[in-house]
């Protein structure tokens, strides 16, 4: 009745803005990780930009009471100490574990003034933080546990992180890896945990050292950490993106 045109200009503009906006926004900003020309990854980038732009970057994830701690499933890709686990078996790790990890040392390298190794005793001498937080798995489940460890920021500062640094990658003995940006790396709740619920990390929960990033989904939390690499450029440490997974998982 009111209209004479088949598709109105307004309709076209609405359709255009909503679809093109989502795609262009991510492509225009230099700070976003690469999109690999994949439409799904562009959506992930838009989420990354929006969450970095609209949310408080220092806000702490909710912390819980001791009586709210729940059971905690282990759903990773396998046990690095088990020779039967073809994907994840690591002979060095098996040796370390059989010695009770007393020879373990974390390697820190890349864009730092003092690359080197940190024995567990060295790490425990740096600042310590204990937090009861919720682990949120991409599968849909969640679990609450108490973690104690050294803030990643303390390790990075101790190693003399360079001004050019933009990403931190974590490599586990099990072949798994992840990277995070500096905002998450220096978030006060981002810690390298060595203690879970008051005792040394149980074997399958990432002994002797695992990452806790409380503002992202569970799969960022690399277990059995062997080395940390600080880089100036974006690194898709374990080919998350190639494997079809979102690199940023704040949602």
């Amino acid at each position: 009745m009111r209209k004479t045109k088949l598709i109105s200009r307004r309709q076209a503009i609405f359709a255009g803005i909503t679809s093109a906006g989502a795609l262009l926004l991510s492509g225009c900003l230099k700070k976003a990780p690469p999109t690999y020309g994949n439409i799904l990854r562009m959506g992930d980038d838009l989420t990354y930009i929006a969450q970095r732009g609209l949310l408080s970057q220092r806000a702490l994830a909710p912390e819980y009471q001791k009586n709210e701690i729940t059971s905690f499933p282990v759903t990773d890709i396998g046990d690095p100490a088990d020779p039967a686990s073809k994907k994840t078996y690591n002979k060095v790790y098996q040796q370390l574990q059989s010695d009770g990890f007393k020879n373990y040392a974390l390697t820190v390298e890349g864009s730092v003034a003092r690359p080197g190794k940190y024995a567990m005793a060295d790490l425990k001498k740096l600042a310590q933080r204990t937090q009861i937080t919720r682990h949120t798995c991409e599968e849909g489940w969640s679990a609450i546990a108490e973690w104690t460890g050294v803030p990643l920021s303390a390790v990075l500062k101790d190693a003399g992180i360079l001004q050019t640094a933009r990403f931190v990658s974590f490599y586990g003995f099990d072949g798994y890896a992840e990277s995070i940006d500096m905002l998450d790396a220096f978030h006060p709740q981002t810690i390298l945990a060595h203690t879970m619920n008051g005792e040394g990390l149980p074997a399958r929960n990432g002994a002797p050292l695992r990452l806790r990033v409380e503002t992202q989904i569970g799969y960022k939390n690399v277990k059995f950490i062997q080395r940390i690499v600080v880089s100036d450029k974006f690194v898709d440490a374990a080919d998350d993106i190639k494997g079809g997974w979102s690199w940023y998982t704040g949602i």
Partner: protein, 249 residues
């Protein structure tokens, strides 16, 4: 008079922006439904409260993938310093999990839904679409009137042609101002980054797993709405109505 179809009744005409946003939201909703189902398949258990997983009791479990009731768990290990019986155990079962594309598709479609939804809400208020076409008139919100309208739907008595009926308006208002906001906000509540900045979301939806369960039921209600919506369209002249909401004038 009882009529089985009313081909002569005039269908409601829609403005361009209503048609455009309706189109984008419909497509996004369908994509969200499919991807949401795929995501649910990798963990078809729902809980109430702050956290929940395979080692804690569920509200219910849906038989929608091979993950349903799987028992592939290594022996449980308890924690010395905890006295609530909490354990940890490793999974030995290869689960169904297509969340790589499932999650990214879900969030991409959610972006289209949220941005279009905001444009739709603004336009709806500015143009008076909500006030004139969707809100019930004064004194109309009475159970008796709603019931009469409900019954007349079964008797196939058409209401004033070219306008929305009372029940129709109440339903549309509930979907736009209640169901969609609930499904979007519970979606936000599952995000660790968003809840770090907006912890009140976890309060109003009773925790992470409660939000997930509410998200599920709100999506079910939206799907139910879609089915009834389509049935009503079919019964009042499918072709004519579909033409009117898409390309017709």
């Amino acid at each position: 008079m009882i009529v089985s179809q009313n081909p002569n009744a005039e269908a409601v005409s829609h403005r361009g922006w209503v048609k455009g946003s309706h189109f984008i939201i419909t497509i996004s909703f369908l994509v969200l439904t499919v991807s949401g189902y795929v995501i649910l398949m990798s963990h078809p258990r729902l809980y109430w409260g702050k956290a929940g997983n395979d080692l804690t009791p569920a509200l219910f479990e849906l038989p929608i993938s091979r993950n349903y009731h799987h028992n592939g768990w290594d022996k449980s290990i308890s924690f010395k310093h905890l006295n609530g019986g909490q354990v940890t155990a490793a999974r030995t079962y290869d689960i169904f999990n297509q969340n790589g594309w499932g999650r990214s598709t879900h969030f991409l479609a959610a972006w289209f839904l949220v941005i279009t939804g905001i444009v739709y809400l603004l336009a709806g208020f500015i143009t008076g679409h909500f006030r004139f076409n969707l809100s019930p008139r004064r004194g109309e919100l009475r159970l008796k009137l709603l019931w009469r309208d409900f019954i007349s739907h079964f008797r196939m008595q058409p209401h004033t042609p070219g306008k929305y009926g009372l029940l129709q308006r109440v339903t549309y208002i509930s979907v736009i101002f209640f169901l969609f906001p609930v499904v979007i906000l519970t979606g936000f509540t599952m995000s660790p980054a968003i809840t770090a900045s907006c912890p009140f979301l976890l309060k109003i939806f009773f925790g992470h797993q409660s939000a997930r369960t509410i998200h599920f039921f709100a999506a079910i209600l939206l799907l139910l709405f879609l089915v009834v919506h389509l049935v009503m369209i079919a019964r009042s002249g499918f072709k004519k109505n579909i033409w009117k909401i898409t390309f017709g004038r």
